[in-house]
Symmetry: C2
Subunit: 149 residues, 2 copies
DNA sequence: AGCGGGAATTGGAATAATTCCAAAGAAAGA
DNA sequence: TCTTTCTTTGGAATTATTCCAATTCCCGCT
């Protein structure tokens, strides 16, 4: 049967196939978990989130799948100084702001012209596959949302 | 006796004193080691370099001293994805280029105006204590230096 | 010189995050 | 169906770093 009738290929399935890899329930699940809550979770955090739905999954598999997703360019791995790696499904060029108080992380859009300016700093002959930009600092205290309470 | 006659206060001694810390042979030695070979060594590498001169020093002390130097703003800690931390005595604003072939690291000068452009990406209210920029890529194969050989 | 107290160093144990490994399980192709 | 290859899994191993308790050092004061 034509699988496309029942299961339109997800971007995930396509990317995997493109690399000669298989789509698996674990990979799907982990990718969906990342898309669902985009707060830059660690591998451990992903582990506990997906276990709700698939209690038998192992931490090693979480590491494996995350690595696979990174290989397929579906997910970015983000490293803050010394801490555990974090994962991010935002594929637009962006920097990260790391709040030193709360530990929270926010994406900062990175306009093409600024990125270009940065890339232009490289001496001739140097070529950059990836440019990582991280801000460390404080963000304004979250305004108490004007709610009815 | 006036110590300044014999021992003009080094920048290190000053910075330490400023933070209420003491200058010690270990701190001096480690700081000198960093200045001497600015190839962004890891703590382990620093350890083996300084042991040549002070065989009794311990790895824990190397970690302690490096941390102290970072606190005093005499040294920057540089983290590449997952690898051991590296240390850098260059205090000018600069980015790092990490060569994925050789693992070598080079400083890339960061002009104030570019830095300003980057800082300007932050939404209002956000303030950044530090901005980290890392290039990952390849540098040109080292040209065989035109030597007499 | 001697003393008291805080700071620093030291070795070794402990921790955290990740990777490795070998065995068992699925899936796809011939 | 049989074979091959890719995946997952649990647990052991590794790596980098931090923690800890016991000296040791150094400084100011007397």
């Amino acid at each position: 049967m034509r699988p496309s009738l029942h299961e339109p290929p997800t971007p995930l399935a396509e990317r995997l196939a493109h690399s000669g890899l298989r789509n698996t329930p674990q990979r799907e699940l982990i990718y969906r978990a990342l898309l669902e809550k985009r707060d830059h979770p660690t591998a451990d955090e992903v582990y506990s989130r997906v276990r709700a739905e698939m209690p038998s999954i192992s931490l090693a598999t979480v590491y494996n799948c995350l690595e696979t997703l990174v290989q397929c360019d579906l997910v970015r791995q983000v490293n803050f100084e010394r801490g555990p790696a974090r994962y991010c499904p935002n594929l637009h060029p962006h920097a990260h702001f790391h709040d030193e108080k709360s530990g929270a992380t926010h994406d900062i859009e990175l306009p093409a012209d600024v990125l270009e300016r940065i890339r232009a700093l490289l001496p001739p002959g140097y070529s950059a596959r990836a440019i990582e930009i991280t801000f460390h600092g404080q963000m304004p205290a979250a305004q108490p949302t004007q709610s009815a309470a």
